[in-house]
């Protein structure tokens, strides 16, 4: 249930620190989510995303720092926090031997609903999450996408003011992913405040109003997707050549035209570079490549993706996990 006073800021965290033994999982994270907006917490495996979610959902106590969810202090008033949140963890936490309906009914009862209310709410969510046909089958027969939907439905049983979704699409096939995005989209349209963690830049771009990029337990950048892309600046000009032998020539030409060192991808015979003058740079590059006798198979000009942002911020790609437990 939404709390009686709706604060402007639904979630606030100040200087959260958490160590696991000698590993510093969180190294002073601050965050703030205005009510009714979606914050995307973006980072590779082991960046500290799950730890942050676990602290905000009262599952874990930080070593230092403070946090408030829906106006309640997670350290001093965890029960009030639990009444205000819905959590959908990294692994769909559904009981495989219970049917979809029974899973939701159980969660409703555990939120303190009486039997008729819990049943009615379970039915409502079953149909909203398009699980009608599977409602009375044990969840072990569900596809990955259906389990995810059921788990998300579980997080929404009590119409929580704040919903925390930890990597909601990890491990899903593309169809399951699109399905889940749609559900999250609806959730946001209904006015919930959402914290979403993801290692997919595309996902943060699609779903989040604000993005916080974290790596090694620190916030390394924040802003809207557009602001983050703007930080990298310019546009990327990308050339694919016919023969690997032509890569060096192409790279030299792009160095002349572009505003930085070009990236060379030998495997895909691709060279790309940041350019300042958009299509003018493109035409200039093609003219020079033609003069050098380089066969250009493909050419494109694109704004930087969040992948580019991540790469330029951290020096490594977003999905290049460190294999640390999250």
């Amino acid at each position: 249930m939404p709390t009686t006073t709706v604060p402007d800021v639904a979630v606030r965290a100040e200087a959260l620190v958490k160590n696991y033994g000698s590993t510093r999982a969180l190294d002073g994270i601050d965050l703030e989510i205005p009510t009714g907006t979606v914050l995307g917490l973006l980072g590779p495996n082991g960046a500290g995303k799950t730890t942050a979610v676990r602290i905000l959902t009262t599952l874990l106590r930080p070593d230092s720092g403070r946090a408030w969810v829906a106006g309640h202090d997670v350290l001093t008033d965890p029960d009030a926090v639990r009444r205000s949140i819905g959590l959908s963890g990294q692994y769909a936490a559904v009981d495989e031997n219970l049917t979809g309906f029974e899973n939701l009914y159980m969660v409703g009862r555990l939120y303190g609903m009486n039997k008729p209310t819990a049943k009615a709410r379970a039915r409502e969510l079953i149909s909203r999450f398009r699980l009608d046909d599977a409602a009375d089958r044990p969840a072990k027969g569900y596809s990955g996408g259906m389990r995810r939907r059921l788990d998300l439905a579980g997080a929404l049983v009590a119409e929580p003011a704040v919903v925390l979704l930890d990597e909601p699409t990890t491990g899903l096939d593309p169809r399951g992913r699109l399905d889940t995005w749609e559900v999250i989209g609806e959730l946001v349209a209904d006015g919930a405040t959402v914290l979403l963690t993801t290692q997919y830049l595309e996902e943060a771009d699609q779903l989040a109003d604000t993005i916080l990029v974290i790596d090694h337990g620190r916030v390394i950048a924040s802003g809207t997707a557009d602001q983050l892309k703007g930080e990298v600046g310019g546009e990327w000009l990308e050339i694919v050549v016919a023969d690997t032998a032509e890569l060096a020539t192409a790279a030299r030409v792009l160095t002349e035209v572009g505003s930085g060192e070009p990236d060379i991808d030998e495997q895909h015979k691709r060279v790309q570079v940041l350019v300042d003058a958009g299509t003018k740079s493109l035409i200039e590059a093609l003219r020079r490549l033609d003069a050098q006798g380089v066969t250009v198979l493909d050419v494109s000009l694109h704004r930087p993706t969040l992948d580019d942002v991540f790469l330029s911020l951290t020096g490594h790609a977003a999905e290049d996990g460190k294999g640390e437990p999250t």
């Binding site: 599952l59 936490a93 555990l110």
Partner: protein, 266 residues
């Protein structure tokens, strides 16, 4: 609602969920009784002839009953570890529910499984010649004592389950401590013939007291020549059995709940 009332209410919901799990996985129940049935057959007919024949079989059954209820705590271990691994405990811990409920629900549903296992084992005992020779009231007290002891063992299992790093570890950790504990007792032989230190352990082992009480209450005598345990615990078996069960609960309920508050999925 008081904390305890909420714990009982929420625990009931968790127990309902666990029992639905048992009903949809009947192999669980199967596993709960197949091992004791095997023990009955092995001890009754492999060792039994040398140890007193029919009289030994009657003596043996109380030991098997206690072992059955105690070994069911392994299900508490595995059940909780499983919920932990699958992230279900995370979901529960993020809900505004009692911190006692998941553990109380699990130990309660395992108690129901123990009841079913005891029923099956009683029928099995009747088949090999075991009989209730005491009064009905005594028999009821014997079954209640078995369940109390099983419930106490289950709370030890809860702590082990919450501390196990994986389901595989939980599977062996849940049983490992039970073998010596149930064998160094009067479950299968009179503890009187054991060497000094083992004999002392056997005499003070709550298993022995529970077994002794159950035998007394059912009126099952030891076969001739089998040295019974001696000393205060044996002379006051029922009292000692109840007190040690309650002591186990008094220690392991708070320990398990404290562990649950801090536990985290891997």
């Amino acid at each position: 609602m008081t904390a305890l009332a909420q714990g009982v209410r929420d625990g009931g919901i968790i127990a309902w969920r666990n029992l639905l799990n048992v009903r949809r996985n009947v192999d669980w129940l199967f596993a709960a009784v197949i091992q004791p049935i095997m023990f009955v057959l092995l001890f009754a007919y492999v060792f039994g002839g040398a140890l007193g024949g029919g009289a030994y079989r009657e003596f043996l059954i109380a030991g098997i009953f206690v072992q059955t209820t105690a070994f069911n705590s392994a299900f508490t271990v595995i059940g909780l570890c499983n919920d932990l691994q699958k992230g279900i405990i995370d979901r529960f811990r993020s809900l505004p529910m009692s911190r006692l409920a998941v553990l109380l629900g699990r130990t309660t549903s395992d108690l129901v499984v123990s009841m079913m296992a005891l029923l099956i084992m009683s029928l099995c005992g009747l088949l090999v010649g075991w009989r209730i020779r005491g009064s009905v009231l005594d028999a009821v007290v014997a079954y209640l004592l078995l369940l109390l002891f099983g419930f106490a063992m289950s709370w030890i299992g809860a702590l082990i389950g919450l501390s196990s790093p994986s389901v595989e570890v939980a599977q062996s950790a849940g049983l490992m401590w039970l073998f010596p504990l149930s064998f160094i007792s009067s479950a299968f032989v009179g503890a009187g013939t054991m060497p000094g230190p083992l004999k002392a352990i056997a005499e003070w082992n709550p298993f022995t007291a529970v077994i002794q009480s159950v035998r007394d209450l059912f009126g099952n005598a030891a076969p001739p020549g089998m040295a019974p345990p001696q000393g205060w615990p044996s002379d006051n078996a029922l009292l000692y059995a109840v007190v040690s069960s309650l002591a186990i609960l008094a220690i392991f309920i708070p320990l398990s709940v404290a562990k649950y508050r801090r536990v985290a999925s891997k």
